[in-house]
Amino acid sequence: MSGRGTPQGMTEAEKQAFLRRRRGRNWAVLIALLALVGLFYFIAMARMSVH
């Protein structure tokens, strides 16, 4: 498959695409973690209001 192998074996364009994909994944993980923190906060508030 094109692009598979060590980073050193990549062309400059492939390397840039690889870094862009990794940045995208890292942002997605950050957003998911922040959303989870927010969700736990609101769940705690909701459960306390119920009781």
Partner: protein
Amino acid sequence: MSDSAINQGGAAAPLSTSSELDLSEVRDWIALLKPRVMSLVVFTGAVGLIVAPGHLHPVLAITAILCIAVAAGASGAINMWYDRDIDAVMRRTASRPIPAGRIQPRAALAFGVFLALASVVLMGLATNWVAALVLAGSIAFYVFIYTMWLKRRTPQNIVIGGAAGAFPPVIGWAAVTGHVSVEALVMFAIIFFWTPPHFWALSLFASGDYQRAGVPMLPVVAGARETRRQIWLYSLLLAPLGLLPTVIGMAGLAYGAAALVLGGFFLEAMWRVKRDAQDAEGRSLTQDAPARAAFKFSIIYLFMLFAALAADRLLFGA
């Protein structure tokens, strides 16, 4: 996630510490969750929450729906991990992230297992442990009973495996009430009997794919004519079953009228499948046009039936 995805070094850090570079994009991980299937799961789960007697704080209700969605996605990811060999030979699934080589199988499995556990625990913490238990049961049913046991062994895979997709309204109901009652089981039964005609309509025009992959779908094993007959028989069961919520007093006459009309259209669509022009061996002479139309309509049918159930509850408080 994979090694490179959790790499803390930013863009200037070594690109990967593993021998396999992670070539995935965010959309590949989303694709693992089968978002198109998820929409129906989320919708029926939400209807279960709406029609259940009682009240759930809106935040907890949204969390419950989120858990149902994530659990469905987790099941889908584990299914894609297990089925990666047959996905690779089916035209419809060959471009999925695992067979296309963009996500490593073990990463997909870890992703699915993590999401499955997280959704069950979150459901338990946010609502109650009965709902969490049913949610866990639905994941286990889809992964172990359908994916690993039935799918490759019997042409009835869809019939029994269809139960996995019928769980969401039961989970929604349990999230509100803390138990599973006959009303929840009626919603379960509607989706359970809807699944065979829905999937067999698909398998009629995708049977070549299933044959290549060695999946014993009904058209591959018993032929198209027998599949059309069974589609019709299940449709005959489903149409009156759609009226059951009104019969048991769970919904009012408005829902009953909607179910009657929708059931009529469903029967008409499936009758066209049964009467499709076919050669001596049952192969369609119309490129399965009625099956394609019936497949599309079956999705609309379930959406509208459950929408009618929710509307009946919200508008008339039945």
